[in-house]
């Protein structure tokens, strides 16, 4: 939903899916998680200085195993690549986190980029979530193959997505702003077969 900015008074802020009602079907709800903070962090995890500096800011070690993530409070840190992490923060926490990371990492090989608006996140919740994702996702999301806390980049037809499971039947899917409408429409169309 478009809404008033809490940082800049009097300003309406939007997401690519502003104004959409959740997609609802039997065993399925799809909603947008708007305005989460998102930061791309890059650097050399093998460099102890880098690891320590990041830990001093995040309060946790960076995940170094492919497809894993860490959660500290409301912040989630995902392994994106061997030298890249994605951090999701609560709304409006990204500026401070970004600044803190930059400060802590000064002089080290690194990159910190705010990508909060580059992406948005769709949440699929319900026992049919896997069936919906199976309409386009090329990775196996069966409970034996993919667990809560795991995360990876992959594809959904034309969209590149980053997917993580947060709970037994809940998946959060991050997608570029300009592909959000497409993905949303895909889900909406796909959910029709279970429409109440």
């Amino acid at each position: 939903m478009a809404k008033a900015s809490s940082l800049y008074p009097g300003i309406t802020i939007d997401t690519p899916l502003s104004g959409r009602n959740p997609i609802q079907a039997d065993g399925l709800v799809v909603t947008e998680l708007p305005f989460l903070g998102k930061i791309t962090l890059r650097g050399d995890a093998a460099d102890p200085a880098f690891a320590a500096a990041v830990k001093s800011v995040l309060g946790t070690d960076l995940p170094t195993q492919p497809m894993t993530s860490q959660r500290v409070g409301n912040t989630r840190v995902f392994w994106k690549a061997f030298d890249e992490w994605l951090i999701w923060t609560p709304e409006d926490a990204e500026q401070k986190l970004g600044a803190d990371l930059n400060a802590a990492l000064t002089g080290l090989r690194k990159s910190v980029v705010d990508v909060s608006d580059y992406y948005t996140i769709l949440r699929i919740d319900g026992p049919r979530s896997r069936d919906l994702l199976a309409k386009g996702c090329v990775i196996d999301l069966h409970p034996r193959a993919f667990h809560p806390g795991q995360a990876t980049g992959t594809g959904f037809h034309h969209a590149t997505i980053f997917i993580t499971q947060t709970d037994s039947d809940v998946f959060d899917i991050m997608v570029r702003w300009s592909f959000a409408d497409y993905l949303w429409n895909y889900f909406a169309d796909g959910a029709r077969e279970w429409a109440a």
Binding site: P66, M67, K80, F82, V138, I139, G153, I161
Partner: protein, 113 residues
């Protein structure tokens, strides 16, 4: 649609990757010192191997990293992948690409002996 082994993310659908052509083609260090023909070969000429081909892939939709892999271009079976800068693994000389990846470890060990 074959599978490609990302050295980090594991075996994934080929559609998640971008192909980057033949591997181990280094850019000439002194382009000014080489002939037009040598420069032309660097940009255009490729082994185009029928058989075991060393090639580059990027896990574009996944981790986004480039790596190298050996694939048999007759059957599209991938022997293994390896990170940039690492040496290529060595499948047995007579590997015909008609084995499944599960067997490659065994084959590789056999070849060493």
């Amino acid at each position: 649609m074959f599978l490609v082994k990302c050295p980090w993310c594991g075996w994934r659908d080929q559609t998640e990757f971008s192909y980057g052509g033949e591997a181990h083609i280094a850019r000439p260090l002194e382009p000014g010192q080489i002939s037009d023909a040598e420069w032309g070969d660097y940009i255009y000429t490729r082994r185009n191997t029928k058989g075991v081909h060393a090639e580059r892939w990027s896990h574009t939709q996944g981790c986004g990293r480039w790596f190298n892999a050996l694939r048999h271009t007759v059957t599209d079976v991938m022997w293994d992948s390896y990170k940039m800068g690492e040496d290529a693994p060595t499948p047995p000389k007579d590997w015909d690409g008609m084995t499944c990846c599960d067997d490659h470890k065994k084959l590789a060990e056999g070849a060493k002996k």
